[in-house]
Amino acid sequence: MCLAIPGKIIEIASDNPESALIDVVGVRRRVDLGLLQDDPPVPGDWVLIHVGFAMSKISEQDAIEQMETLKMLGESDAALQEVSGYSLDDSYKLKVSK
């Protein structure tokens, strides 16, 4: 019901701590940080953006843990299954975007 996209905080306005410039793969916009006033983000943080407002700080730690969980999917039962044909390589590692 709500389109929200991760963006990286590039800078916070010097005259307004609740206004930040964010970047989404080269697209930039000012977003309102007012809804994160209890735990204000700093430049370099990733936030979830919806209708020009930062809704939530994105946890890199949780993203990595999710990837680890995904990597483990089905592994515990691997002995029961003849799982073959998957080459996982490093695909579970977070890709660092440009």
Binding site: L3, I5, V24, V25, V27, R29
Partner: protein, 330 residues
């Protein structure tokens, strides 16, 4: 008024009103230019009107679009533009320097595309009755030898090529209007595609079945039109469709599909499979063609539709655009 934005509404207007009343034969498929034979000379003729806001935007302006747009319509019809006539509709009060800048842009674009501007007309309408300026160009071209563009010749197994990254123009214009307050280092892709078309014809002429420049309504609309005209399915491989990062970012933020976004300097081609590699190679080697890719192929099914398929086996139908692409929040 959705009728100008390409896509389904435009097509209905043409098929439902203009074709039956104006054109000699409404059974022929809709193409970008009409072909004529006059005293043995094989010609193509087309016309296009340009309405764009803002008039100037990163990478181009209305004057440049008006030349390249018509040159490109002729090019994808297999013709080299020879001469253009131009009509300006100007809003009273338009500043002279704005007009002059656009006339200069047209002259330069015409030089670049190797086409002469041989005549024109100007109308001035009351202030408020037009938005700054509209430009119409009508072009005549000579049909190139060694190529025949016909949707009916498209066969299952044919490959679908694109000349470069999709969506640059449409997203550039959307951002340049300033209403969304987004910024990006993006420029319109407006250019003459004739050199690339000539390179393609030179290398793979007999294998070319169809070409189209996916302007308003984007690649999805052009390919849907082809799918309906030939009764076959166009299957695209999502990870092969070239889209620049910033275009993708804007599309993700605004809930748009790059396949629905307008282009002004790209074209799509359907090529027989045995010519696909040589066609791609020729385009890649031509100036400005390094972004060309094979993005999919023609299949029997889904007949009359465009299907995008993913590496993991998911797929979706992509229809023509309904009206203008509107940003969405949900």
């Amino acid at each position: 008024m959705a009728h100008g934005a390409g896509g389904q509404a435009s097509r209905r207007l043409i098929e439902g009103l203009f074709a039956p009343l104006l054109f000699h034969s409404s059974t022929e498929p809709l193409t970008d230019a009409a072909h004529l034979e006059i005293n043995g000379a094989r010609l193509a003729i087309t016309t296009d009107s340009f309405v764009v806001k803002p008039l100037r935007f990163p990478g181009g302006s209305i004057g440049e679009l008006a030349v390249n747009g018509t040159v490109n319509d002729l090019a994808v019809s297999g013709a080299k533009a020879e001469a253009l006539v131009v009509t300006y509709v100007l809003e009273a009060g338009l500043r002279t320097e704005v007009l002059e800048a656009e006339v200069r842009a047209m002259a330069e674009a015409a030089r670049g595309a190797g086409v002469r501007i041989v005549g024109g007309d100007t109308k001035v309408v009351e202030h408020g009755k037009a938005d700054s300026m509209y430009v119409t160009t009508t072009g005549v071209g000579r049909l190139l030898k060694g190529v025949a563009i016909d949707p009916a010749s498209v066969r299952p197994g044919d490959k679908i090529l694109v000349s470069g990254a999709l969506g640059d123009h449409g997203i550039t214009i959307l951002l340049a209007r300033g209403e969304l307050d987004f910024e990006a280092d993006l420029a319109s892709d407006t250019r003459s595609v004739l050199p690339l078309v000539e390179a393609l014809i030179g290398a793979a002429g007999p294998g070319i079945r169809w070409m189209r420049d996916p302007t308003r309504g984007g690649a999805a609309t052009s390919l849907n039109e082809l799918a309906r005209d030939c009764g076959l399915g166009m299957v695209l491989l999502e990870d092969q469709v070239p889209v620049r990062d910033a275009v993708r970012g804007a599309c993700e933020l605004l809930g748009l599909d790059p396949l629905h976004i307008a282009n002004e300097g790209q074209f799509l081609a359907v090529v027989a499979p045995e010519y696909a590699d040589v066609a791609l190679n020729a385009m890649n080697l031509a100036p400005g063609g390094d972004g060309a890719k094979i993005i999919g192929e023609v299949r029997e099914q889904p007949a009359g539709s465009v299907l995008v398929s993913t590496l993991y086996g998911g797929s979706r139908i992509v229809d023509m655009l309904v009206g203008d692409p509107l940003p969405r929040i949900c």
